[in-house]
């Protein structure tokens, strides 16, 4: 197990380097001039040259990358934004909790939808319930996320006025007129629904398929042959096995989503990592882009590792191999 961990961490390091290098390469292939953007609309050529020097953009690309790495590893700093010289660390860490709130709330909501729909559809295949469930799945997967967001905003936020339309309230602090858990949740209701719909659909379908497969396994027949009531067969034999793969998928999806639920955050104007990523790309703000990339990569690596360890722990075939 220890050896496995070391190997995973080494690969994580390799992955990290690869991802950040690729980001650099893409950035410098794009024909745009961050220096000009930084210097401002009406900058003179001289000022642009000075800006370029100041931002270190006149150095060769590998050197810039090396400096970036050095700064990250030694100073634990992601540098400063090209556009407004803000500390990237701080900006990223302010945006992260917003995305985290969206994602974790969304996860709970989507599992609350997917589990019952998936399991009940599997238990009564081809019934009205099953067909209804699969219709839900079809809609959930087909409907574009931003469209869902806009519809919800219009129908519930604007027309019915039940929830606020946009904006984010911090969980703990009050700033700009709202704060505290109640406000926080209130503002996130529509975003959660929007974010969760797609995943709920995907997971419902997967849970249904897994449950149906598991119902046909020989050991389920053995349990029935022992005289176990259907509820026990379901609980103790079917679900425990059918839901194992869901654990893995959940871990991966959370890791990815933490990188920024771009559509949802844009529609609802939530200042999370997704919105930050979009903004920094459109302003060619390399340090900020790298900052988001680094953070996201770290999240994905950590969550994948957690999931692998968790899976090894709950499946005795892997644990005791």
């Amino acid at each position: 197990m220890f050896r496995y961990l070391i190997r995973r961490l080494l690969w994580a390091g390799v992955l990290f380097i690869a991802v950040t290098v690729v980001t650099y390469v893409i950035f410098f292939i794009i024909p745009a001039d961050p220096a000009r953007l930084a210097a401002g609309q009406r900058a003179t050529p001289d000022e642009i040259v000075r800006a370029r020097h100041f931002l270190g953009l006149d150095k060769p690309v590998p050197v810039q990358y090396a400096l970036f790495l050095k700064r990250l590893v030694i100073d634990h700093s992601l540098g400063h934004s090209f556009t407004n010289r803000q500390d990237v660390n701080k900006v990223v860490l302010t945006a992260a909790p917003v995305t985290a709130s969206l994602v974790f709330g969304g996860v709970i909501l989507w599992m609350m939808l997917a589990l019952p729909i998936g399991v009940l559809s599997a238990l009564r295949p081809r019934s009205l319930l099953d067909r209804g469930g699969m219709m839900f799945v079809l809609i959930g997967i087909s409907a574009p996320v931003f469209w869902v967001g806009l519809i919800l905003q219009y129908a519930i936020g604007f027309r019915l006025g039940w929830t606020p339309n946009s904006g984010y309230c911090d969980l703990l602090n009050t700033q700009g007129g709202c704060g505290g858990p109640a406000d926080w949740a209130y503002h996130l209701i529509l975003p959660w629904m929007t974010f969760a719909l797609l995943f709920a659909a995907i997971y419902a379908r997967m849970i249904r398929a897994n449950t149906m497969d598991t119902m046909n396994e020989d050991y389920v027949r053995t349990a029935r042959a022992k005289g176990a009531p259907e509820s026990q067969v379901l609980r103790s034999h079917v679900l425990r096995n059918a839901l194992l793969p869901v654990v893995t998928m959940l871990g991966m999806d959370i890791g990815i989503a933490l990188g920024g639920a771009i559509f949802t955050e844009t529609v609802f104007n939530l200042p999370g990592l997704g919105k930050l990523a979009v903004q920094s790309i459109s302003t060619f703000d390399l340090p900020m882009i790298e900052g988001v990339v680094v953070f996201t990569t770290l999240c994905i690596i950590v969550f994948n590792l957690i999931v692998d360890l968790l899976y090894a722990w709950i499946d005795p075939r892997i644990r005791l191999a």
Partner: protein, 345 residues
């Protein structure tokens, strides 16, 4: 032409087990085949029998160079094919063909039967398109299928018919040797009989040489001239068919013979069965010296687990690898256990 079509000397196939953080180091090996030697003469059938994990399928694949041997020699028709390159192997492949166990998995479901049977002919450029088609239809007839079904897909045939297609495929290029890897294990008894009769007829008609691998001793006896018994990667005993079944020398062969249920209620119940203890051990860590010693009713401590058993000859063409070969047959369980001195060669 030499009598011996296939000579295998001390064949070994080890699958490495590696461990390591960055650089994988080999820490152990699955010794699937560990020193197997035998010969097959032209026109005869060598039956290879053994239970799961004995290495018979791996051995077959090494002989056909579908796997590369880790050691030893394979000499086919006088030529050493153990280490030759895949390119050099290609022309030899049309002389040795294989029939597989699972009639459902061994035929490509997306190809028509005509293509499946004729593919080897096409690859080896053995005739024009029309000639190949003619040959394929001939083959379908030979194996007892309707030549009109040339354009059908595998799923349109039953298990037994699919196995016949497998046989036709093997026959297409007129091979010298056909290796049959459990060809009837997945078939019902009545269908099994059809395929066994077919294989026998074809052998007579085309003077084929078979290596017939199976775990069912009854089936092996019906079709083989000589039989080889394998256990955990090595050969326990080799003998002519009648000899092996009436006067086995290796305790494992004796246990196998006594374990096979006989479809005769009186005989079956009268027979004193020898029941082995325990399960087949793992080929990763085979027992020391004689592989069979942990389960052998004749186990003598200090001999069987320390000294490699010698290959003893019993008349022409009967050899067993054992310190205490059986003196007679049948033996009861008690008689099996009561061996005294190791038999002198």
């Amino acid at each position: 032409m030499a009598e011996e079509l296939l000579v295998v000397e001390d064949l070994k196939k080890h699958f490495p087990i590696t461990r390591g953080i960055i650089f994988q180091k080999q820490i152990a090996a699955v010794k699937a085949v560990d020193g197997v030697s035998f010969t097959v003469n032209r026109g005869e059938t060598l039956g290879v029998v053994g239970e799961s994990g004995c290495g018979k399928s791996t051995m077959a694949r090494c002989v056909m160079r579908l796997l590369d041997p880790s050691g030893g020699k394979v000499i086919f028709d006088g030529r050493d094919i153990t280490n030759i390159s895949q390119a050099e192997m290609r022309p030899i492949r049309r002389e040795m063909m294989m029939i597989f166990q699972d009639p459902y998995a061994s035929l490509n479901p997306r190809k028509r039967v005509g293509f499946i049977i004729g593919e080897a002919l096409e690859v080896n450029k053995m005739g024009s398109g029309r000639e190949i088609k003619q040959r394929v239809q001939e083959l379908l007839d030979i194996v007892g299928l309707n030549p009109e079904h040339y354009n059908r897909f595998p799923h349109e045939f039953s298990g037994g018919q699919r196995q016949r297609i497998g046989v036709a495929r093997a026959l297409a290029v007129n091979p010298k040797l056909i290796v049959c890897d459990e060809p009837v294990s997945a078939l019902d008894v009545s269908v099994q009989a059809q395929i066994l009769n077919l294989l026998k007829d074809l052998q007579d008609e085309f003077n084929l040489t078979y290596v017939f691998i199976a775990h069912d001793l009854n089936v092996v006896r019906h079709i083989s001239n000589r039989v080889m018994v394998m256990y955990l990667g090595s050969v326990a005993e080799v003998a002519g068919r009648d000899q092996l079944y009436s006067a086995p020398k290796h305790p494992y062969t004796g246990a196998l013979l006594s374990a096979v249920p006989v479809p005769d209620p009186e005989l079956g119940r009268q027979r004193k069965r020898i029941v082995l203890e325990g399960d087949v051990p793992s080929p990763i860590n085979p027992p020391s010296a004689c592989r069979f010693h942990p389960r052998c009713p004749r186990f003598h401590e200090g001999v069987c687990d320390v000294v490699d058993p010698p290959v003893r000859e019993f008349g022409e063409d009967h050899a067993a690898t054992c310190h205490y070969p059986l003196e007679a047959w049948p033996l009861t369980d008690a008689q099996m256990r009561g061996a005294g001195e190791p038999v002198a060669s």
